[in-house]
Amino acid sequence: MLVHIISKYRWIALGIVLLPIVFYFWPKTNKVQSSSTSLKVYPIVDYWRYGKYQQQALQGCSDIPLGEDFIRCHPEPLLCQLNFEKKKFTHVLHANGDLDLNFQDTFLRLKNNCHRIELKENIYSAGPRDYNQEVWSNEGQDIKIDRFYVSTYEVARWKNPDLKLTYKESIKPALTLTLEERHRFCIDRGGHLLQSHVFDAASFFPQLGNIGLLKKSFYPWSKAKRLQDDCNSFVHKGCELDSAYARVGVSWSGVFHTLGSEAEVFDNPMRPAANLKFSSKYLDSKNPWHQIGLRASWTRDFDYDLTEQYLGRLESDLDIRGVAFRCMYY
């Protein structure tokens, strides 16, 4: 009799037994598949910001050495790391260097901010003279400046996103674009070609209090008028410079290459002709052009006027062998 009942209702009995099991497992399986909170955002952000990747993740995938400034905010090693961790995602690299990562239902935009400093709010004065020339202030403007020169990697990626360069080629300063191309490059990055008075603000020691008694420093390393001719203080004749990311010629603001290194072009809305920093690695350490605030002129193509535009005392007949540049952002 019992066997008969079991045999008759065996599918119902099986259903009663299995149903709770299915209910028990169903929501859990679903949760694992759709959960956006399972994505840990901060380790990814920290990889991007600080570049402390796992060595194994980069092997055979990226030749950028760990610990270099260049590895920060760089998409290549991050993609290596995420693939190494077997993460499922798609990505979009924007023209301004921001990287979008799409992990199923979570979107993460990593901002290309690693190599920028924010100019402190203060009253500044452009040019090399002590008195209040070209005074301006940046309260409320949120001005950010590239700490390093634009590199060949950035220009290559801008011209052709698929172009691959080795690490050694990538890190060289970009020296050969036309003036118009440099403007376009910075606009495409969401910024503008660095303005001359902003570069001066980031180079001279800032002065607090009464600006009527403005006293400008000669060099970026100290207020004293004392030359430091080692190759770390600034790259001059006899020093090596093979990287846009070299930590040399630093000023109080954290901007590098403020003196020496390469000649550098700016946009100068206050005095358009004064747009070229001529202090560079081609000049002897004692050359008077090695003083912050001095400007020569790059008019167009290969037309340079190497007369100092503010003081008028200095001239040069040296050939310009490439000009570096960088961008600023509001």
């Binding site: 956006s36 955002v41 901060y42 952000v45 991007w48 910001r49 023209a95 921001d98 979008d100 239902d105 979570t106 979107f107 993460l108 935009r109 990593l110 901002k111 901010n113 690693c114 009253i123 500044y124 005074v135 301006w136 202030s137 940046n138 309260e139 409320g140 403007q141 403007h183 910075c186 606009i187 495409d188 990055r189 969401g190 910024g191 503008h192 070609l193 600006i211 946009d267 809305p269 206050m270 358009p272 509001y330």
Partner: protein, 251 residues
């Protein structure tokens, strides 16, 4: 008496521990801190005695990536009464002033010395003998969202991508990432601690573009900004600053 003092001490230290534990939980993910500019950092806040003041706004990532903020308010100790730190968690748009004197909330009583230190990376609360450190995540470096970014914003050059009013209040959130290329600051009102931004592929000071900003602090100019040749802005050679539709433009 001795037992009473011991019990009082235990109650106070338990409350202090509870306060720091709760803050550590609440402030594990600080996005930004806006402190009262009138207060000197690193010093005990002691004036005006007995008054309730706003110390800071602590911006946090709330549930579902919705930002919220903690209003940190303080009743300054006086001869009659010990100090009181009290917090209200509110929507970002709500002003903290509305919660002054409303102490029926998460709080720490019996405070005799309260001050703080703040930089870009860290907030330090100095509460009597305690030093409470909180890391500030640099939120300018990433955006996280459950929906595609910028999907609702299609700007063209000349459009405002960020806008503030005369009182420096934000009337259009910053979405300048959605500009076709780049953007510029523009003077269009009497707020001088912040500027509206317009999408542009040109540089400041060029023809028909926003004038470059010289600033108010550098010029000391306090009168109406909206005049021809306004001293707070400048243009490129051969152009002049004009004020059109309340905006400083180069012509």
């Amino acid at each position: 008496m001795y037992v009473l003092l011991i019990s009082l001490f235990m109650v106070v230290s338990a409350q202090a521990e509870e306060f720091s534990k709760e803050l550590a939980r609440r402030w594990a993910d600080i996005r930004e801190v806006r402190a009262n500019q009138m207060l000197v950092r690193g010093r005990s806040i002691s004036e005006p005695k007995g008054a309730d003041i706003q110390i800071m706004e602590v911006y946090l990532n709330g549930a579902n990536f919705k930002p919220i903020k903690d209003c940190v308010l303080f009743r300054i100790p006086s001869e009659k009464e010990a100090g009181l730190i009290y917090l209200h968690q509110v929507q970002v748009s709500q002003p903290c002033e509305e919660y002054i004197l409303n102490t029926d909330t998460f709080k720490k009583e019996e405070v005799y010395n309260f001050g703080f230190n703040l930089d870009k990376r860290e907030l330090v609360l100095l509460v009597d003998s305690q030093k409470l450190n909180f890391k500030i995540r640099d939120n300018k470096n990433f955006i996280v969202s459950t929906s595609r970014l910028n999907s609702n914003h299609e700007f063209k050059n000349g459009d405002f991508c960020y806008r503030i009013d005369d009182k420096c209040e934000v009337i259009q959130k910053n979405n300048c990432d959605a500009c076709p290329k780049s953007f510029l600051n523009i003077v269009e009102n009497n707020c001088f601690n912040d500027y509206s931004k317009v999408c542009s592929e040109k540089s400041c000071g060029e023809k028909d573009q926003p004038a470059c900003i010289r600033g108010r602090a550098s010029t000391g100019y306090k009168l109406n900004y909206c005049i021809p040749d306004s001293p707070i802005a400048f243009c490129r050679e051969g152009l002049r600053v004009f004020c059109e539709e309340d905006r400083l433009i180069c012509k």
